[in-house]
Chain length 310, copies 3
């Protein structure tokens, strides 16, 4: 498989990528997406390659999506979590990863609570680094899988109107998505509770709505964000019921969007909080397709970083 359009050692964020690089990932993902439909869902592409998964924050979805992608590519996957690691012995993250690098892995997949940790490591390591989420900064494979999912149902992103709704300020998903969508020619409107909107929303180059109804007008795609119910008290947001009444996506509200608008959510969803069950499970919802797309996109990223002759 040709790897035209991709030269980078790492995938750190959407911020760094050119439009052609985004297109390269999406085109590669399309060719891997089909693998999941085969009886034998495995390709020998990364046989003999080692991928280290370093997750310093809890994660079911992203971690398992990467692990499945790795195994489906025939790579060897090695998992680390914070508990039981040398980090608890006071070693610096850079020393830990340098040590891991000395074992000659081919790719390091890292999630960390602090922004730009993957960038700092990538600058110091020869190994390819994939950012699987760095604080509220970026989550590039999520934005890529969202774009890939939309493109299974739309010809192009160019010209689409995308509404992103909910806890904008604390979301790395938003940041990566806004960057990607704008680079690909879509327009974006964000909306959510006042206390969850960033101070300088306009600086993102997006339109800002303070009511969800206003944000939905004319939207071709609606991306709902998860309410971090576990942080609720700290964030002084209303109760789940109040949140749903004011900002939740139900069927009536969804009708404000364009005919046939697509609904996405990065998961895990809170039914009856940010999204009604019948919308989450309805015809417009691509939530489970996003999960399948995630494996294909991550296979593509691993291939572009570690596959074939270099």
């Amino acid at each position: 498989m040709a790897k035209s359009g991709w030269q980078r050692k790492d995938l750190l964020g959407i911020a760094e990528l050119e439009r052609t690089e985004i297109e390269a990932v999406l085109a590669t993902a399309a060719s891997f997406h089909e693998v999941a439909t085969r009886p034998i869902k495995k390709v020998p592409t990364l046989r003999g390659k080692t991928v280290l998964n370093l997750f310093f924050e809890p994660s079911t979805r992203t971690r398992s999506s990467f692990e499945i992608a790795e195994k489906r590519m025939s790579a060897d996957a090695i998992n680390f979590s914070t508990a039981g690691s040398s980090l608890s012995k006071g070693e610096s993250l850079l020393d830990t990863t340098r040590n891991l690098q000395a074992m000659s892995p081919d790719v390091l997949v890292i999630r960390h609570a602090h922004p730009r940790v993957p960038h700092q490591l990538a600058a110091r390591l020869d190994t390819s680094v994939v950012n699987a989420g760095d604080g509220a900064h970026e989550h590039p494979t999520q934005a890529l899988l969202d774009a890939f999912t939309i493109l299974q149902h739309r010809e192009q992103l160019d010209g689409l109107r995308v509404a992103i709704l909910g806890d904008i300020e604390h979301s790395r998903v938003v940041r990566s998505n806004v960057l990607l969508l704008r680079k690909m020619g879509a327009s974006v409107v964000i909306g959510g509770p006042y206390t969850m909107m960033p101070r300088s929303a306009e600086a993102l180059g997006v339109d800002v709505a303070y009511s969800i109804d206003e944000a939905l007008e004319g939207a071709d795609v609606v991306m709902m964000l998860r309410v971090q119910t576990e942080r609720q008290s700290r964030m002084s947001i209303p109760s789940a019921d109040e949140y749903f009444a004011l900002f939740g996506l139900d069927r009536a509200r969804l009708r404000r969007a364009n005919e046939g608008a697509l609904v996405l959510h990065p998961g895990p969803i809170n039914r009856g909080v940010e999204i009604a069950s019948d919308v989450a499970d309805g015809r417009a919802s691509l939530i489970l397709e996003q999960v399948s797309s995630g494996v294909a996109v991550r296979m593509a990223v691993l291939y572009l970083l570690a596959g074939g002759a270099s």
Copy 2:
């Protein structure tokens, strides 16, 4: 390998199975049992298949038995535990598993503290589900491996007398074993402390003895159950010494059973509580054979659910 006698998508419990289906699993297990004796203990049967292991209760034995079975079949095994999963973020189990299903696994192996959770998931998922223990309800692969182990030493189960002794009420092992043994033509007597006997023991279709000596009379097979010493205070059972004196299996007691009676225990054993060390390590004991059988039976189940052309 032919899969005659098996049509099901899932293995949820012994309750659902016909005698011919039980025989199909046992016959398939026999052909995989031999693999463990080879220098290269691996067959390519499930190459390219993915098995997700979801254990919501601690387990060394069952989890590792499944994982070894999966790897010996060349499947890709992905492990989840409760800690660090989205479940801690309040997502429903059904949503979590739907998401996992969207990654196109071939089999989901699940252990959960609540009865019938595997059944509920199986009804809603296309993926094959294996019940690895649901509360005090069923543990079908345990009953199948017990039967397989007995059949390494006896021509048939038909006509055998099996005594199951100990904490009957809280045991999923008992339920699955009673169901299987009766379907296969064995007769079962249960016995244990009064506080550990179910209210309606006769409804199980078994004989009930309130002394271990009485239960052992005429037994061809003796299945001892683990005393959950960690729950002892809650269950108001006597001390370990008292328990052993009243209900423990020692050599003298074992002589009440038929000549050459077989001794089984699902493990982990409490030496000197429900079983004497010399019995656990003695000639009659099949405890370690049960462990080997477990791998073979789980290979068979995985094969019947995910192997070959469908």
Copy 3:
């Protein structure tokens, strides 16, 4: 590949090994070391073999080094940790491992807080056992990888002067290294704070220095040990700054050693405590090479124990 010079079932400690056996491991490791430099870092040598990793103490470095070695040899790796295991249900370690053995693994890699646990298990199990650290007793693969690393830069160990500095008393690394270095003809001097020196240091057959400056005189190799900062209060050692002033290896001190002396550290390092950052990252430092050597040495050990026809 020939396995001349190796007949043992287990690798328990350096104490048991003959010089020719140490040489056999090192020669085998040399042939595997090259694998890490290939684009496809995998050999089929242990395909179909199962290795169980039982770590009863936290470990990033050693555990992941073994796991990478196992996967690079195409073995199936199964991981256990204490949490969630039957051990928490009161089962004895011997019963647990007997059960694991009944699943027919080929090798058991074990780390345990108590000395000689691997030896006791090895005596009772047919499965090969590798000691990955038993209390303050032995850590044979660490000593072997240290020797292997030195031999990448020196013709032989014979005649070298090795200074081992720091927390001598609590270190399994020291014990295994002293045993190995002496068997191979090197001379060893140990030094460290008075409270960290063993009562009977001379019994080890090494020279003893109570100042680091004295210990460094004439050294060809300097092995620094980790200060267990997490145990600091218990061990009544001075503050990190004081420790560094008195016992830390900085550039000025290193000049007391022989021209071109090599610096090793088992990691994780405490920068500015037992070693200055510029020394740890400097030209003399082999710290990251030790990590690479670790994978090669563990591949060699696994090969000698489980590889080829038996």
